[in-house]
Symmetry: C2
Subunit: 305 residues, 2 copies
Protein backbone atom coordinates (compact mmCIF):
# COMPACT_ATOMS: atom_id res chain seq x y z
CA UNK A 1 0.00 0.00 0.00
CA UNK A 2 1.46 3.37 -0.92
CA UNK A 3 1.70 5.94 1.83
CA UNK A 4 -0.83 8.76 1.40
CA UNK A 5 0.17 12.29 2.46
CA UNK A 6 -2.22 14.66 4.23
CA UNK A 7 -0.84 18.19 4.56
CA UNK A 8 -1.76 21.20 6.68
CA UNK A 9 -1.75 23.09 3.38
CA UNK A 10 -4.79 21.04 2.34
CA UNK A 11 -6.62 21.67 5.58
CA UNK A 12 -6.25 22.13 9.32
CA UNK A 13 -8.60 22.76 12.21
CA UNK A 14 -8.41 25.00 15.27
CA UNK A 15 -11.34 23.35 16.99
CA UNK A 16 -12.43 19.75 17.57
CA UNK A 17 -16.20 19.74 17.09
CA UNK A 18 -18.71 16.85 16.94
CA UNK A 19 -19.59 17.64 13.32
CA UNK A 20 -16.19 17.87 11.63
CA UNK A 21 -16.10 17.34 7.85
CA UNK A 22 -13.40 15.07 6.51
CA UNK A 23 -10.43 16.51 4.62
CA UNK A 24 -9.50 12.97 3.55
CA UNK A 25 -11.04 9.54 3.95
CA UNK A 26 -8.92 6.40 4.37
CA UNK A 27 -9.43 2.73 5.18
CA UNK A 28 -8.48 1.04 8.43
CA UNK A 29 -4.84 -0.05 8.12
CA UNK A 30 -3.86 2.98 6.04
CA UNK A 31 -0.27 4.18 6.28
CA UNK A 32 -0.19 7.97 6.23
CA UNK A 33 2.27 10.82 6.31
CA UNK A 34 0.80 13.84 8.09
CA UNK A 35 2.46 17.20 7.46
CA UNK A 36 2.08 19.72 10.28
CA UNK A 37 3.05 23.35 10.63
CA UNK A 38 4.44 24.63 13.92
CA UNK A 39 1.92 25.65 16.56
CA UNK A 40 2.62 29.35 15.90
CA UNK A 41 1.69 29.04 12.22
CA UNK A 42 5.21 29.83 11.05
CA UNK A 43 4.95 33.41 12.35
CA UNK A 44 7.86 33.21 14.82
CA UNK A 45 11.11 32.98 12.86
CA UNK A 46 13.43 35.13 14.99
CA UNK A 47 13.77 36.13 18.64
CA UNK A 48 12.21 39.49 17.80
CA UNK A 49 9.01 37.63 16.81
CA UNK A 50 6.86 36.93 19.86
CA UNK A 51 3.43 35.38 20.41
CA UNK A 52 1.79 38.64 19.35
CA UNK A 53 3.34 38.08 15.90
CA UNK A 54 0.92 35.23 15.24
CA UNK A 55 -1.82 36.67 13.01
CA UNK A 56 -4.61 34.18 13.66
CA UNK A 57 -5.16 31.23 15.91
CA UNK A 58 -2.49 28.86 17.26
CA UNK A 59 -2.23 25.05 17.37
CA UNK A 60 -3.35 24.08 13.88
CA UNK A 61 -4.18 20.36 13.67
CA UNK A 62 -3.84 18.82 10.20
CA UNK A 63 -7.00 17.01 9.15
CA UNK A 64 -9.55 15.82 9.95
CA UNK A 65 -9.03 12.38 8.46
CA UNK A 66 -12.06 10.06 8.36
CA UNK A 67 -11.67 6.32 8.85
CA UNK A 68 -14.20 4.57 6.61
CA UNK A 69 -15.02 1.79 9.08
CA UNK A 70 -15.16 3.86 12.28
CA UNK A 71 -18.49 4.20 14.08
CA UNK A 72 -19.26 5.39 17.60
CA UNK A 73 -18.19 2.83 20.21
CA UNK A 74 -15.17 1.69 18.21
CA UNK A 75 -11.56 2.44 19.13
CA UNK A 76 -9.07 4.25 16.87
CA UNK A 77 -5.45 3.09 17.12
CA UNK A 78 -2.78 5.46 15.82
CA UNK A 79 0.66 3.89 15.64
CA UNK A 80 3.35 6.59 15.50
CA UNK A 81 6.22 5.35 13.38
CA UNK A 82 8.38 8.42 12.82
CA UNK A 83 8.26 12.17 13.43
CA UNK A 84 10.64 14.13 11.17
CA UNK A 85 11.60 17.75 11.85
CA UNK A 86 11.22 19.62 8.53
CA UNK A 87 12.70 23.01 9.37
CA UNK A 88 16.05 24.28 10.59
CA UNK A 89 14.85 25.53 13.97
CA UNK A 90 12.26 25.25 16.68
CA UNK A 91 11.21 28.01 19.06
CA UNK A 92 10.29 28.11 22.76
CA UNK A 93 8.35 31.08 24.08
CA UNK A 94 6.72 32.67 27.09
CA UNK A 95 3.22 34.12 26.73
CA UNK A 96 1.72 36.75 29.00
CA UNK A 97 -1.17 35.25 30.95
CA UNK A 98 -0.05 31.65 30.36
CA UNK A 99 2.39 29.15 31.88
CA UNK A 100 3.19 27.71 35.31
CA UNK A 101 5.10 30.81 36.48
CA UNK A 102 2.91 33.40 34.78
CA UNK A 103 2.87 36.63 36.78
CA UNK A 104 6.23 36.31 38.55
CA UNK A 105 8.20 39.58 38.45
CA UNK A 106 11.36 37.95 37.13
CA UNK A 107 9.64 36.04 34.31
CA UNK A 108 9.50 38.10 31.12
CA UNK A 109 6.56 37.47 28.79
CA UNK A 110 6.48 37.56 25.87
CA UNK A 111 9.97 36.28 25.12
CA UNK A 112 11.12 34.01 22.26
CA UNK A 113 14.22 31.83 22.15
CA UNK A 114 15.07 30.18 18.85
CA UNK A 115 16.47 26.63 19.10
CA UNK A 116 18.42 25.90 15.88
CA UNK A 117 18.83 22.32 14.73
CA UNK A 118 22.50 21.28 14.78
CA UNK A 119 24.32 20.33 11.58
CA UNK A 120 23.91 16.58 12.23
CA UNK A 121 20.19 16.95 12.90
CA UNK A 122 20.43 15.19 16.28
CA UNK A 123 20.23 18.12 18.67
CA UNK A 124 18.79 21.59 19.23
CA UNK A 125 20.94 24.48 20.40
CA UNK A 126 19.90 26.62 23.37
CA UNK A 127 22.79 29.02 23.95
CA UNK A 128 25.78 26.70 24.23
CA UNK A 129 23.68 23.77 25.45
CA UNK A 130 22.69 20.88 23.20
CA UNK A 131 19.26 19.31 23.67
CA UNK A 132 18.56 15.91 22.05
CA UNK A 133 15.81 16.05 19.43
CA UNK A 134 13.01 13.80 20.71
CA UNK A 135 9.85 14.87 18.87
CA UNK A 136 6.41 14.85 20.49
CA UNK A 137 2.96 15.36 18.93
CA UNK A 138 1.38 18.05 21.14
CA UNK A 139 -2.17 18.02 19.79
CA UNK A 140 -3.88 14.86 18.53
CA UNK A 141 -7.50 13.87 18.79
CA UNK A 142 -10.83 12.93 17.28
CA UNK A 143 -14.27 14.53 16.95
CA UNK A 144 -15.74 14.82 20.48
CA UNK A 145 -19.00 13.36 21.71
CA UNK A 146 -21.09 16.52 22.18
CA UNK A 147 -19.09 19.59 23.29
CA UNK A 148 -16.52 21.43 21.14
CA UNK A 149 -12.95 22.15 22.21
CA UNK A 150 -10.40 24.47 20.62
CA UNK A 151 -7.12 22.77 19.74
CA UNK A 152 -5.62 24.43 22.86
CA UNK A 153 -7.74 22.28 25.19
CA UNK A 154 -7.22 18.60 26.08
CA UNK A 155 -10.19 16.43 27.03
CA UNK A 156 -11.60 12.93 26.55
CA UNK A 157 -11.31 13.26 22.74
CA UNK A 158 -7.57 14.00 23.02
CA UNK A 159 -6.66 17.46 21.75
CA UNK A 160 -3.83 19.42 23.37
CA UNK A 161 -2.52 16.51 25.46
CA UNK A 162 1.12 17.68 25.33
CA UNK A 163 2.41 14.31 26.51
CA UNK A 164 6.01 13.21 25.93
CA UNK A 165 4.79 9.65 25.40
CA UNK A 166 2.95 10.67 22.22
CA UNK A 167 6.09 9.98 20.25
CA UNK A 168 7.60 7.62 17.66
CA UNK A 169 7.59 3.98 18.73
CA UNK A 170 4.37 4.35 20.73
CA UNK A 171 0.69 4.08 19.82
CA UNK A 172 -2.25 6.13 21.05
CA UNK A 173 -5.85 4.91 21.23
CA UNK A 174 -8.98 7.09 21.18
CA UNK A 175 -12.66 6.35 21.74
CA UNK A 176 -14.58 6.86 18.49
CA UNK A 177 -17.44 9.28 19.24
CA UNK A 178 -18.51 10.13 15.67
CA UNK A 179 -18.71 8.33 12.33
CA UNK A 180 -15.27 8.32 10.74
CA UNK A 181 -13.53 9.18 14.06
CA UNK A 182 -12.12 12.36 12.39
CA UNK A 183 -8.45 12.27 13.38
CA UNK A 184 -6.39 15.48 13.38
CA UNK A 185 -2.91 16.27 14.73
CA UNK A 186 -0.29 19.01 14.92
CA UNK A 187 1.48 21.26 17.47
CA UNK A 188 4.65 19.14 17.46
CA UNK A 189 7.69 19.84 19.59
CA UNK A 190 11.31 18.95 18.74
CA UNK A 191 11.85 18.54 22.51
CA UNK A 192 9.62 19.00 25.54
CA UNK A 193 9.90 18.49 29.30
CA UNK A 194 7.18 16.69 31.24
CA UNK A 195 5.02 19.55 32.45
CA UNK A 196 5.70 21.93 29.55
CA UNK A 197 6.10 24.54 32.26
CA UNK A 198 6.58 27.72 30.21
CA UNK A 199 3.64 26.72 27.99
CA UNK A 200 5.59 25.43 24.98
CA UNK A 201 8.31 22.98 24.05
CA UNK A 202 10.49 23.67 21.04
CA UNK A 203 7.62 24.23 18.58
CA UNK A 204 8.38 22.89 15.12
CA UNK A 205 6.96 21.79 11.76
CA UNK A 206 7.06 18.06 11.07
CA UNK A 207 6.15 15.10 8.91
CA UNK A 208 4.59 12.28 10.91
CA UNK A 209 4.34 8.69 9.68
CA UNK A 210 1.42 6.84 11.24
CA UNK A 211 -0.64 3.72 10.66
CA UNK A 212 -4.30 4.10 11.60
CA UNK A 213 -6.55 1.21 12.50
CA UNK A 214 -10.15 0.85 13.63
CA UNK A 215 -10.78 -1.66 16.44
CA UNK A 216 -14.32 -2.99 16.64
CA UNK A 217 -15.77 -1.82 19.95
CA UNK A 218 -17.88 -4.96 20.13
CA UNK A 219 -14.77 -7.14 20.14
CA UNK A 220 -13.30 -5.77 23.36
CA UNK A 221 -14.32 -5.79 27.03
CA UNK A 222 -12.82 -2.36 27.56
CA UNK A 223 -15.06 0.68 27.68
CA UNK A 224 -12.47 3.25 26.51
CA UNK A 225 -13.60 6.71 27.58
CA UNK A 226 -10.38 8.67 27.23
CA UNK A 227 -7.06 8.42 25.35
CA UNK A 228 -4.72 5.54 26.16
CA UNK A 229 -1.03 5.36 25.22
CA UNK A 230 0.90 2.16 24.54
CA UNK A 231 4.69 2.25 24.92
CA UNK A 232 7.00 -0.76 24.45
CA UNK A 233 6.81 -1.37 28.24
CA UNK A 234 3.55 0.10 29.54
CA UNK A 235 -0.09 1.04 29.05
CA UNK A 236 -0.89 4.59 30.13
CA UNK A 237 -4.40 6.01 30.47
CA UNK A 238 -4.33 9.80 29.88
CA UNK A 239 -6.74 12.09 31.70
CA UNK A 240 -7.31 15.85 31.52
CA UNK A 241 -9.19 17.93 34.09
CA UNK A 242 -9.36 21.32 35.82
CA UNK A 243 -6.80 20.32 38.47
CA UNK A 244 -3.95 17.82 38.61
CA UNK A 245 -5.71 16.10 41.53
CA UNK A 246 -8.86 15.52 39.44
CA UNK A 247 -6.80 14.33 36.46
CA UNK A 248 -4.92 11.89 38.74
CA UNK A 249 -8.23 10.56 40.01
CA UNK A 250 -9.55 9.91 36.48
CA UNK A 251 -6.30 8.33 35.28
CA UNK A 252 -6.21 6.09 38.34
CA UNK A 253 -9.87 5.06 37.84
CA UNK A 254 -9.05 4.14 34.23
CA UNK A 255 -5.99 2.13 35.29
CA UNK A 256 -8.04 0.31 37.92
CA UNK A 257 -10.73 -0.59 35.36
CA UNK A 258 -8.07 -2.16 33.11
CA UNK A 259 -6.56 -4.12 36.03
CA UNK A 260 -10.01 -5.35 37.13
CA UNK A 261 -10.77 -6.69 33.64
CA UNK A 262 -7.37 -8.36 33.29
CA UNK A 263 -7.05 -9.98 36.70
CA UNK A 264 -10.60 -10.35 37.98
CA UNK A 265 -9.75 -8.02 40.87
CA UNK A 266 -12.47 -5.99 42.54
CA UNK A 267 -11.93 -2.23 42.42
CA UNK A 268 -10.29 -2.11 45.87
CA UNK A 269 -7.70 -4.79 45.07
CA UNK A 270 -6.98 -3.11 41.72
CA UNK A 271 -6.52 0.20 43.59
CA UNK A 272 -4.16 -1.40 46.13
CA UNK A 273 -2.18 -3.03 43.32
CA UNK A 274 -2.00 0.25 41.38
CA UNK A 275 -0.15 1.75 44.36
CA UNK A 276 2.71 -0.74 43.97
CA UNK A 277 3.92 -0.50 40.35
CA UNK A 278 4.31 2.17 37.66
CA UNK A 279 2.25 5.15 38.73
CA UNK A 280 1.22 8.70 37.98
CA UNK A 281 3.13 10.92 35.54
CA UNK A 282 2.70 14.57 34.58
CA UNK A 283 2.05 15.46 30.93
CA UNK A 284 1.37 19.18 31.13
CA UNK A 285 0.40 21.71 33.80
CA UNK A 286 -0.31 24.74 31.60
CA UNK A 287 -3.12 24.22 29.11
CA UNK A 288 -6.61 25.35 30.12
CA UNK A 289 -7.05 21.80 31.43
CA UNK A 290 -4.07 19.81 32.77
CA UNK A 291 -3.10 16.26 31.77
CA UNK A 292 -1.63 13.27 33.64
CA UNK A 293 -0.87 9.64 32.80
CA UNK A 294 -1.05 6.51 34.94
CA UNK A 295 1.58 4.02 33.84
CA UNK A 296 0.80 0.30 34.18
CA UNK A 297 3.75 -1.93 33.24
CA UNK A 298 2.90 -4.45 30.50
CA UNK A 299 4.12 -7.18 32.86
CA UNK A 300 0.73 -6.71 34.58
CA UNK A 301 -1.51 -5.86 31.64
CA UNK A 302 -1.78 -7.53 28.26
CA UNK A 303 -3.39 -5.67 25.36
CA UNK A 304 -6.87 -4.52 26.37
CA UNK A 305 -7.93 -4.79 22.69
CA UNK B 1 35.42 3.33 60.19
CA UNK B 2 33.07 0.76 61.67
CA UNK B 3 29.43 1.13 60.74
CA UNK B 4 27.33 2.33 63.67
CA UNK B 5 23.76 1.02 64.03
CA UNK B 6 20.85 3.21 65.12
CA UNK B 7 17.66 1.25 65.78
CA UNK B 8 14.02 2.21 66.14
CA UNK B 9 14.17 0.19 69.36
CA UNK B 10 16.52 2.82 70.78
CA UNK B 11 14.30 5.69 69.72
CA UNK B 12 11.91 6.98 67.06
CA UNK B 13 9.89 10.13 66.53
CA UNK B 14 6.37 10.76 65.28
CA UNK B 15 6.91 14.49 64.86
CA UNK B 16 9.69 16.63 63.37
CA UNK B 17 10.02 19.62 65.72
CA UNK B 18 12.60 22.43 65.82
CA UNK B 19 13.88 21.31 69.25
CA UNK B 20 14.52 17.59 68.74
CA UNK B 21 16.95 15.92 71.15
CA UNK B 22 19.54 13.61 69.62
CA UNK B 23 19.26 9.87 70.06
CA UNK B 24 22.81 9.53 68.70
CA UNK B 25 25.55 11.93 67.65
CA UNK B 26 27.92 11.18 64.78
CA UNK B 27 30.63 12.95 62.79
CA UNK B 28 30.30 14.08 59.18
CA UNK B 29 31.31 11.15 57.01
CA UNK B 30 29.82 8.56 59.33
CA UNK B 31 28.61 5.31 57.81
CA UNK B 32 25.43 4.21 59.55
CA UNK B 33 22.91 1.39 59.49
CA UNK B 34 19.43 2.64 60.40
CA UNK B 35 16.90 0.05 61.52
CA UNK B 36 13.29 1.00 60.85
CA UNK B 37 9.99 -0.63 61.77
CA UNK B 38 7.15 -0.65 59.28
CA UNK B 39 4.92 2.44 59.18
CA UNK B 40 2.14 0.56 60.99
CA UNK B 41 4.36 -0.26 63.98
CA UNK B 42 4.23 -3.99 63.29
CA UNK B 43 0.54 -4.13 64.14
CA UNK B 44 -0.67 -5.41 60.75
CA UNK B 45 0.49 -9.02 60.32
CA UNK B 46 -2.52 -10.58 58.56
CA UNK B 47 -5.31 -9.47 56.24
CA UNK B 48 -7.68 -9.42 59.23
CA UNK B 49 -5.51 -6.66 60.76
CA UNK B 50 -6.48 -3.25 59.40
CA UNK B 51 -5.42 0.32 60.11
CA UNK B 52 -7.57 0.35 63.25
CA UNK B 53 -5.29 -2.40 64.63
CA UNK B 54 -2.47 0.10 65.09
CA UNK B 55 -2.50 1.04 68.78
CA UNK B 56 -0.66 4.37 68.66
CA UNK B 57 0.69 6.66 65.97
CA UNK B 58 1.92 5.63 62.52
CA UNK B 59 5.08 6.49 60.53
CA UNK B 60 7.79 6.09 63.18
CA UNK B 61 11.08 7.68 62.06
CA UNK B 62 14.21 6.23 63.63
CA UNK B 63 16.38 8.92 65.23
CA UNK B 64 17.01 11.74 65.47
CA UNK B 65 20.71 11.55 64.69
CA UNK B 66 22.78 14.68 65.28
CA UNK B 67 25.69 15.57 63.00
CA UNK B 68 28.42 17.15 65.17
CA UNK B 69 29.47 19.72 62.57
CA UNK B 70 26.01 20.77 61.30
CA UNK B 71 24.85 24.32 61.94
CA UNK B 72 21.97 26.28 60.38
CA UNK B 73 22.74 27.26 56.78
CA UNK B 74 24.70 24.07 56.08
CA UNK B 75 23.50 21.23 53.85
CA UNK B 76 23.11 17.60 54.97
CA UNK B 77 23.88 14.96 52.34
CA UNK B 78 22.51 11.46 52.93
CA UNK B 79 23.86 8.88 50.52
CA UNK B 80 21.60 5.83 50.43
CA UNK B 81 23.71 2.74 49.84
CA UNK B 82 21.38 -0.15 50.52
CA UNK B 83 17.87 -0.78 51.87
CA UNK B 84 17.37 -4.35 53.10
CA UNK B 85 13.92 -5.82 53.79
CA UNK B 86 14.10 -7.52 57.20
CA UNK B 87 10.76 -9.28 57.38
CA UNK B 88 8.95 -11.92 55.33
CA UNK B 89 6.12 -9.68 54.12
CA UNK B 90 4.98 -6.16 53.43
CA UNK B 91 1.39 -4.92 53.56
CA UNK B 92 -0.62 -2.46 51.46
CA UNK B 93 -3.80 -1.00 52.93
CA UNK B 94 -6.71 1.33 52.37
CA UNK B 95 -7.68 3.74 55.15
CA UNK B 96 -11.08 5.35 55.53
CA UNK B 97 -10.78 9.11 54.98
CA UNK B 98 -7.46 8.84 53.16
CA UNK B 99 -6.18 8.12 49.63
CA UNK B 100 -6.79 9.41 46.10
CA UNK B 101 -10.07 7.49 45.67
CA UNK B 102 -11.34 7.89 49.24
CA UNK B 103 -15.13 7.98 49.33
CA UNK B 104 -15.86 6.04 46.11
CA UNK B 105 -18.61 3.45 46.65
CA UNK B 106 -16.60 0.60 45.16
CA UNK B 107 -13.45 1.27 47.22
CA UNK B 108 -13.52 -0.62 50.50
CA UNK B 109 -11.66 0.95 53.44
CA UNK B 110 -10.20 -0.33 55.62
CA UNK B 111 -8.78 -3.30 53.70
CA UNK B 112 -5.38 -4.98 54.09
CA UNK B 113 -3.54 -7.09 51.52
CA UNK B 114 -0.40 -8.86 52.66
CA UNK B 115 2.44 -8.99 50.11
CA UNK B 116 4.72 -11.93 51.03
CA UNK B 117 8.37 -11.84 49.98
CA UNK B 118 9.13 -14.66 47.53
CA UNK B 119 11.60 -17.42 48.41
CA UNK B 120 14.43 -15.79 46.44
CA UNK B 121 13.85 -12.40 48.10
CA UNK B 122 13.55 -10.60 44.76
CA UNK B 123 9.79 -10.10 44.51
CA UNK B 124 6.60 -9.55 46.46
CA UNK B 125 3.48 -11.61 45.82
CA UNK B 126 0.11 -9.93 45.25
CA UNK B 127 -2.30 -12.76 44.41
CA UNK B 128 -0.54 -14.54 41.56
CA UNK B 129 1.35 -11.41 40.45
CA UNK B 130 5.02 -10.84 41.24
CA UNK B 131 6.16 -7.31 42.01
CA UNK B 132 9.92 -6.56 41.99
CA UNK B 133 11.24 -5.46 45.39
CA UNK B 134 12.53 -1.92 44.92
CA UNK B 135 12.67 -0.35 48.40
CA UNK B 136 11.90 3.31 49.06
CA UNK B 137 12.36 5.39 52.23
CA UNK B 138 8.95 7.03 52.73
CA UNK B 139 9.76 9.43 55.57
CA UNK B 140 13.15 11.15 55.92
CA UNK B 141 13.93 14.60 57.19
CA UNK B 142 15.60 16.97 59.61
CA UNK B 143 14.47 19.30 62.39
CA UNK B 144 12.39 22.09 60.79
CA UNK B 145 13.02 25.81 60.98
CA UNK B 146 10.15 26.95 63.20
CA UNK B 147 6.93 24.94 62.77
CA UNK B 148 6.45 21.29 63.77
CA UNK B 149 5.20 18.56 61.44
CA UNK B 150 4.02 15.05 62.30
CA UNK B 151 5.87 12.33 60.40
CA UNK B 152 2.76 12.05 58.16
CA UNK B 153 3.40 15.48 56.61
CA UNK B 154 6.03 16.42 54.01
CA UNK B 155 7.43 19.96 53.92
CA UNK B 156 10.68 21.88 53.42
CA UNK B 157 12.41 19.80 56.14
CA UNK B 158 11.55 16.57 54.26
CA UNK B 159 9.28 14.28 56.28
CA UNK B 160 6.70 12.10 54.53
CA UNK B 161 8.04 12.73 51.01
CA UNK B 162 7.04 9.26 49.71
CA UNK B 163 9.25 9.62 46.62
CA UNK B 164 10.41 6.60 44.64
CA UNK B 165 13.74 8.34 44.03
CA UNK B 166 14.59 8.16 47.74
CA UNK B 167 16.16 4.78 47.16
CA UNK B 168 19.49 2.95 47.11
CA UNK B 169 22.01 4.42 44.68
CA UNK B 170 20.71 7.96 45.14
CA UNK B 171 21.49 10.75 47.62
CA UNK B 172 19.15 13.25 49.25
CA UNK B 173 20.18 16.70 50.47
CA UNK B 174 18.42 18.75 53.17
CA UNK B 175 18.83 22.31 54.37
CA UNK B 176 20.17 22.32 57.96
CA UNK B 177 17.77 24.43 60.04
CA UNK B 178 18.97 23.48 63.54
CA UNK B 179 22.28 22.61 65.18
CA UNK B 180 23.06 18.95 64.50
CA UNK B 181 20.53 18.77 61.62
CA UNK B 182 18.69 15.97 63.52
CA UNK B 183 18.16 13.34 60.81
CA UNK B 184 15.40 10.74 61.19
CA UNK B 185 13.94 8.21 58.75
CA UNK B 186 11.45 5.34 58.48
CA UNK B 187 8.18 4.40 56.76
CA UNK B 188 9.91 2.27 54.12
CA UNK B 189 8.12 0.49 51.29
CA UNK B 190 9.25 -2.73 49.59
CA UNK B 191 7.59 -1.33 46.42
CA UNK B 192 5.62 1.81 45.66
CA UNK B 193 4.06 3.43 42.58
CA UNK B 194 4.63 7.11 41.81
CA UNK B 195 1.59 8.72 43.41
CA UNK B 196 1.10 6.17 46.24
CA UNK B 197 -2.56 6.38 45.28
CA UNK B 198 -4.18 4.19 47.95
CA UNK B 199 -2.08 5.93 50.62
CA UNK B 200 0.56 3.26 51.14
CA UNK B 201 3.07 1.19 49.23
CA UNK B 202 4.04 -2.24 50.55
CA UNK B 203 4.93 -1.08 54.06
CA UNK B 204 7.89 -2.94 55.52
CA UNK B 205 10.63 -3.02 58.17
CA UNK B 206 14.17 -2.41 56.89
CA UNK B 207 17.84 -1.85 57.56
CA UNK B 208 19.19 1.15 55.66
CA UNK B 209 22.89 1.75 55.02
CA UNK B 210 23.68 5.45 54.60
CA UNK B 211 26.68 7.76 54.68
CA UNK B 212 25.93 11.18 56.14
CA UNK B 213 27.95 14.28 55.35
CA UNK B 214 27.74 17.93 56.30
CA UNK B 215 28.40 20.43 53.47
CA UNK B 216 29.48 23.88 54.61
CA UNK B 217 26.76 26.33 53.57
CA UNK B 218 29.39 29.04 53.12
CA UNK B 219 31.16 26.99 50.45
CA UNK B 220 28.24 26.86 48.01
CA UNK B 221 26.34 29.40 45.92
CA UNK B 222 23.12 27.46 46.32
CA UNK B 223 20.51 28.59 48.81
CA UNK B 224 18.92 25.18 49.43
CA UNK B 225 15.44 25.69 50.86
CA UNK B 226 13.89 22.29 50.32
CA UNK B 227 15.04 18.67 49.78
CA UNK B 228 17.02 17.85 46.64
CA UNK B 229 17.58 14.33 45.28
CA UNK B 230 20.61 13.23 43.27
CA UNK B 231 20.25 10.17 41.03
CA UNK B 232 23.00 8.81 38.75
CA UNK B 233 21.54 10.87 35.88
CA UNK B 234 19.65 13.83 37.34
CA UNK B 235 19.20 16.44 40.06
CA UNK B 236 15.62 16.67 41.34
CA UNK B 237 14.30 19.42 43.62
CA UNK B 238 11.41 18.08 45.73
CA UNK B 239 8.56 20.35 46.77
CA UNK B 240 5.47 19.75 48.93
CA UNK B 241 2.39 21.97 49.05
CA UNK B 242 -1.40 21.99 49.46
CA UNK B 243 -2.01 21.30 45.75
CA UNK B 244 -0.02 19.62 43.00
CA UNK B 245 -0.07 22.91 41.06
CA UNK B 246 1.59 24.78 43.95
CA UNK B 247 4.12 21.99 44.44
CA UNK B 248 4.95 22.09 40.69
CA UNK B 249 5.48 25.84 40.93
CA UNK B 250 7.92 25.51 43.85
CA UNK B 251 9.82 22.63 42.27
CA UNK B 252 10.10 24.56 39.00
CA UNK B 253 11.33 27.71 40.82
CA UNK B 254 14.00 25.59 42.55
CA UNK B 255 15.07 24.01 39.25
CA UNK B 256 15.28 27.44 37.62
CA UNK B 257 17.45 28.79 40.46
CA UNK B 258 19.91 25.92 39.94
CA UNK B 259 20.00 26.50 36.15
CA UNK B 260 20.53 30.25 36.63
CA UNK B 261 23.52 29.66 38.92
CA UNK B 262 25.06 27.06 36.60
CA UNK B 263 24.62 28.80 33.25
CA UNK B 264 24.34 32.50 34.04
CA UNK B 265 20.80 32.46 32.60
CA UNK B 266 18.26 35.00 33.78
CA UNK B 267 15.11 33.49 35.31
CA UNK B 268 13.16 33.65 32.04
CA UNK B 269 15.79 31.79 30.01
CA UNK B 270 16.13 29.20 32.78
CA UNK B 271 12.33 28.79 32.72
CA UNK B 272 12.30 28.38 28.93
CA UNK B 273 15.12 25.85 29.13
CA UNK B 274 13.37 23.94 31.93
CA UNK B 275 10.47 23.32 29.50
CA UNK B 276 12.74 21.39 27.12
CA UNK B 277 14.43 18.65 29.18
CA UNK B 278 13.57 16.36 32.12
CA UNK B 279 10.54 17.81 33.81
CA UNK B 280 7.94 17.38 36.52
CA UNK B 281 7.32 14.05 38.26
CA UNK B 282 4.73 13.00 40.85
CA UNK B 283 5.92 11.65 44.20
CA UNK B 284 2.68 11.31 46.14
CA UNK B 285 -0.84 12.69 45.91
CA UNK B 286 -2.24 11.46 49.23
CA UNK B 287 -0.42 12.85 52.27
CA UNK B 288 -1.85 15.97 53.91
CA UNK B 289 0.48 17.89 51.59
CA UNK B 290 1.39 16.51 48.14
CA UNK B 291 4.91 16.18 46.69
CA UNK B 292 6.41 16.58 43.22
CA UNK B 293 9.92 16.52 41.75
CA UNK B 294 11.45 18.51 38.88
CA UNK B 295 14.09 16.43 37.11
CA UNK B 296 17.08 18.25 35.60
CA UNK B 297 19.40 15.89 33.69
CA UNK B 298 23.01 16.03 34.93
CA UNK B 299 24.06 16.81 31.35
CA UNK B 300 22.81 20.35 32.12
CA UNK B 301 23.68 20.68 35.81
CA UNK B 302 26.91 19.80 37.58
CA UNK B 303 26.91 19.34 41.36
CA UNK B 304 25.48 22.45 43.02
CA UNK B 305 27.66 21.73 46.10
Amino acid sequence: MSRETVSHEDGAIYEFTPDLEALATVESGAELTIETRDSLDGAVQAESDVIESVPEEVNAATGPIALEEATPGDVLRVEIEEIRIVEARGRVITIDGFGLLDGYDDIEAPRTRMTPVSADGATLEFDDLEVPIDPVIGTIGVAPDSASYTTLVPHDHGGNLDSTDVTAGNAIYFPVFQDGAMLAMGDCKAAMADGEMCGTGSEVATEIDVTVEVIDGGATDVDLRRPLVETPDAWKPLASAETLEEACELANRDAIALLETEHGFDATDAYLFSSLVGGLEISQVVDPLVTVRNSIPKAYLSSPF
